[in-house]
C-alpha cells in the first residue's frame, strides 16, 4: 500500500506508486517492499510483480502501432482483415440498397394521387407486392397522425 498526503483532506490517502509520498514518485529501479499487514481478518496483499499498478487493462498501443504500420498496401479501413471487410461489405450493401429503395420510394411518392372513390377506399394492395407493403397503402387516415408529442391544445395560428 502506498500513501500520499492529500492537500484536500489534509490526511494520508491511498495512492499509486507513482504518486506516492515522494515528490518524484517511487524510483522504478528499486524493488518496492510491501510488508504483509495481518489483521484479525485476512487482508489482501499487494503483489509486487511490477512497480506499476494496472488500472483498467494494460497498454496495447505500441503493439497496435506496429501492426498498423506494416506496409502491405491495404487501406486503413481494411487493415484489420476480416472484421473490417465484413463491416465494409455490410455498409456498402446497405448504402446501395438504400439508394435504390429511396429512389423508388420517391418515385412512388411523386405519383399523382388518384381521386378518392368509395370503391378505392375499400381496396387493399396485393399481399405479396413488396413495395406497397413497405410503404403503407394510401388509404390510411392522416388526421390522427401526431408527431409523438402530447397534444394539449392547438392554436389556429
Amino acid at each position: 500500500m502506498y500513501y500520499k498526503f492529500s492537500g484536500f483532506t489534509q490526511k494520508l490517502t491511498g495512492a499509486a506508486p507513482t504518486a506516492a509520498y515522494n515528490p518524484q514518485g517511487l524510483k522504478q529501479s528499486l524493488p518496492a517492499e510491501s510488508p504483509t499487514m495481518i489483521f484479525a481478518t485476512p487482508t489482501k496483499v499487494v503483489s509486487e510483480a511490477g512497480s506499476t499498478v494496472e488500472y483498467l487493462g494494460a497498454n496495447k498501443v505500441p503493439d497496435l502501432q506496429k501492426f498498423f504500420q506494416t506496409s502491405d498496401g491495404i487501406p486503413v479501413h481494411l487493415k484489420r482483415g476480416y472484421p473490417d471487410q465484413l463491416l465494409y461489405r455490410t455498409t456498402m450493401a446497405l448504402t446501395v440498397g438504400g439508394v435504390i429503395y429511396c429512389l423508388v420510394a420517391l418515385y412512388i411518392a411523386a405519383q399523382p394521387k388518384k381521386k378518392p372513390s368509395l370503391a378505392l377506399l375499400n381496396e387493399k394492395p396485393p399481399l405479396f407486392c413488396s413495395l406497397p407493403f413497405l410503404i403503407a397503402p394510401p388509404h390510411t387516415k392522416h388526421d390522427t397522425y401526431t408527431v409523438g408529442v402530447k397534444k394539449y391544445c392547438t392554436l389556429y395560428i
Binding site: 498501443v61 497496435l64 502501432q65 486503413v76 455498409t91 448504402t95 392547438t154
Partner: protein, 263 residues
C-alpha cells in the same frame, strides 16, 4: 521550411465513409418526408443505421491514422484544430438562426398572437425549476471536463477516467431531465410560433448534448486504452470545445426562450 512542413503532411487512404455518410443523410431526410406521407419509418431507420455505421468506421479510421500510424504531426493537428473551430462556428450560426426566429416573433408580436409575448394561451415553463437545474448540470459538466483535461495533461490516468465518466453521466442526466420536461410541457410544437421556436431550438440543443456525450464516451474508451498522452490528446480537446459551445447555447436559450416575458 515549406518543404519540411509538406513532408509532415499526409494524404488519407481512399475511404467509403464520405459516400456512406452522404447516403445516410439522403435516406434520413427522404425517409422523414416519406414517414410523414406514408406512415412508415423504414427508410429513415435505414438511414439512421447507416449513419451509425459510418460514424463508427470513420472515427475508427481516424484513430488508426493518428494514434496507430502516427500521421497526426503538428501541422496536421493544426489543420484539425482549424477544422473543429470552423465547424463549431458554423454550429453557433446555426443556433443563431433559431434565436433570430424566436426574437423576430416575440419582440413584435402580431395581433394573431394576441399582441403579446408569450402569446395568449401559452403557459410557459418556470425557468427557475427544471431549466435552472439543467443549466447547473451543464455547468457542472464543464467543471468535470476541465478537471479531466488537467488530469490528462498531468498524466493522471485514474483521475482522468473518473472525471470523464462523471462528465458523461451529467450529460445523460441533462438529457433525461429534458426528456421529462418535453413530456410534461403544457404546450407542444404545434402551438403556434412559440411552440415551434421553443421545441426546434431546444430540440436541436438536446441533440447536440447527445452528440457531445457520445464524443466523450469515445474519449473515455480511448483514455482507458492509453491513446491519449499528456501532450497529444486533440480528440479530447475537440470534444471539450464542442461541449463548451453547447453549454453556451443553452445559457443563451435559458435567458431568452425560457423567460416569462420577452426582453
Amino acid at each position: 521550411m515549406a518543404h519540411q512542413a509538406h513532408a509532415m503532411l499526409y494524404s488519407v487512404d481512399p475511404s467509403p465513409s464520405p459516400l456512406t455518410g452522404a447516403v445516410a443523410a439522403l435516406l434520413m431526410t427522404s425517409g422523414l418526408a416519406i414517414s410523414m406521407h406514408f406512415h412508415t419509418t423504414t427508410l429513415m431507420s435505414l438511414g439512421l443505421v447507416l449513419l451509425l455505421l459510418t460514424m463508427y468506421q470513420s472515427s475508427r479510421d481516424i484513430i488508426r491514422e493518428g494514434t496507430f500510424q502516427g500521421h497526426h504531426t503538428p501541422p496536421v493537428q493544426k489543420g484539425l484544430r482549424y477544422g473543429m473551430i470552423l465547424f463549431i462556428t458554423s454550429e453557433v450560426f446555426f443556433f443563431l438562426g433559431f434565436f433570430s426566429a424566436f426574437y423576430h416573433s416575440s419582440l413584435a408580436p402580431t395581433p394573431e398572437l394576441g399582441g403579446c409575448s408569450p402569446p395568449t394561451g401559452i403557459t410557459t415553463l418556470n425557468p427557475f425549476e427544471v431549466p435552472l437545474l439543467n443549466t447547473a448540470v451543464l455547468l457542472a459538466s464543464g467543471v468535470t471536463v476541465t478537471s479531466a483535461h488537467h488530469s490528462i495533461m498531468e498524466g493522471q490516468r485514474k483521475q482522468a477516467i473518473q472525471s470523464l465518466t462523471l462528465t458523461i453521466l451529467l450529460g445523460f442526466y441533462f438529457t433525461a431531465l429534458q426528456a421529462m420536461e418535453y413530456y410534461e410541457a403544457p404546450f407542444t410544437i404545434a402551438d403556434g410560433v412559440y411552440g415551434s421556436t421553443f421545441f426546434v431550438a431546444t430540440g436541436f440543443h438536446g441533440l447536440h448534448v447527445i452528440i457531445g456525450s457520445t464524443f466523450f464516451a469515445i474519449c473515455l474508451l480511448r483514455q482507458a486504452q492509453y491513446h491519449f498522452t499528456s501532450d497529444h490528446h486533440f480528440g479530447f480537446e475537440a470534444a471539450a470545445s464542442y461541449s463548451h459551445s453547447c453549454l453556451m447555447s443553452y445559457d443563451s436559450s435559458f435567458t431568452s426562450l425560457f423567460t416569462d416575458e420577452a426582453s
